[in-house]
Symmetry: C2
Subunit: 134 residues, 2 copies
DNA sequence: TTACAATTAGTAATTATTATCAAAACTGGA
DNA sequence: TCCAGTTTTGATAATAATTACTAATTGTAA
């Protein structure tokens, strides 16, 4: 059985791609509601899961917080702000991560990996400076 | 103000170290109850947070699931099983992760990073094989 | 059309965690 | 040792994010 592209799926997908951000289900729900006011939050959750399963979008499960969905399915890593939880894309060298060591780690069969750089975004750095002045 | 080592904190810490696993709050709660039957789950949550804040234990926030706490505070990475959610330690080469590229990524000030290898553990691989036979 | 399957909206239930708060335990002087 | 103030605890309520349920709606394909 293959994916059936319903109206709600189409709009969810379109709005995520359009945003070029890493949105959570409820953020996307707010955007989608503008075009489809009667859509249910459960439908957004359900379809985000289905769309990511189908490989049309990415799913980020970051640091115990809300899941975020990615408009970009190509291979890349992320950096996120511990203050405001904003997520940005990151393209860094990945050598040293494909060694035999990993391939045979502890008898696991490896399916992938997640690299998350953690830090404070420029906006939050500025805010922190202003706070200090007070 | 520095950390006051209460009975409950001592036992929580002791049981985590003893386990040599990456336990969740409720798993640890079960262990601690054996020695302190009247302890509350909230106390376990509260103190795990405090102990990790104090640097006595590590905190893993993995893949949108439950938090897990680490008996080992030295630098290392993790591998986890997508099937049973078991977490194991991993010591891999980290070169390629300390480049200037990262240090200046998107204007962020970097505080750290998390690398998670994802896969299927030996136990779950075996189980999957047995399932197939049926 | 008509039956069968898939999807939806709305809502309830669940899971993990955090907040609240009165009671208990601990602290450092008098 | 006692006391007043501070911290911590246990019990429970509240919250946040997600998932489950279900009847109604929609799509499909003969
Ligand atoms: Mn991305
Ligand atoms: Mn570890
Ligand atoms: Zn920020
Ligand atoms: Zn496993």
């Amino acid at each position: 059985m293959q994916l059936r592209m319903t109206n709600q799926r189409e709009i969810i997908l379109r709005e995520l791609k359009k945003s070029r951000q890493h949105l959570s289900a409820d953020e996307l729900y707010d955007k989608v509601k503008k075009y489809m006011p009667r859509i249910s939050l459960a439908t957004v959750y359900r379809n985000l899961e289905i769309l990511s399963e189908a490989g049309l979008i990415g799913k980020l499960e970051i640091s115990g917080r809300q899941k975020r969905f990615d408009y970009d399915v190509t291979d890349h890593d992320h950096i996120y702000c511990v203050v405001c939880h904003r997520v940005d894309n990151l393209n860094i060298e990945r050598q040293g991560l494909h060694t035999k060591e990993i391939k045979s780690a502890k008898g696991y069969s490896i399916t992938g990996y997640r690299l998350e750089i953690v830090g404070i975004c420029p906006v939050c750095q500025k805010k922190a400076k202003k706070e200090k002045k007070k």
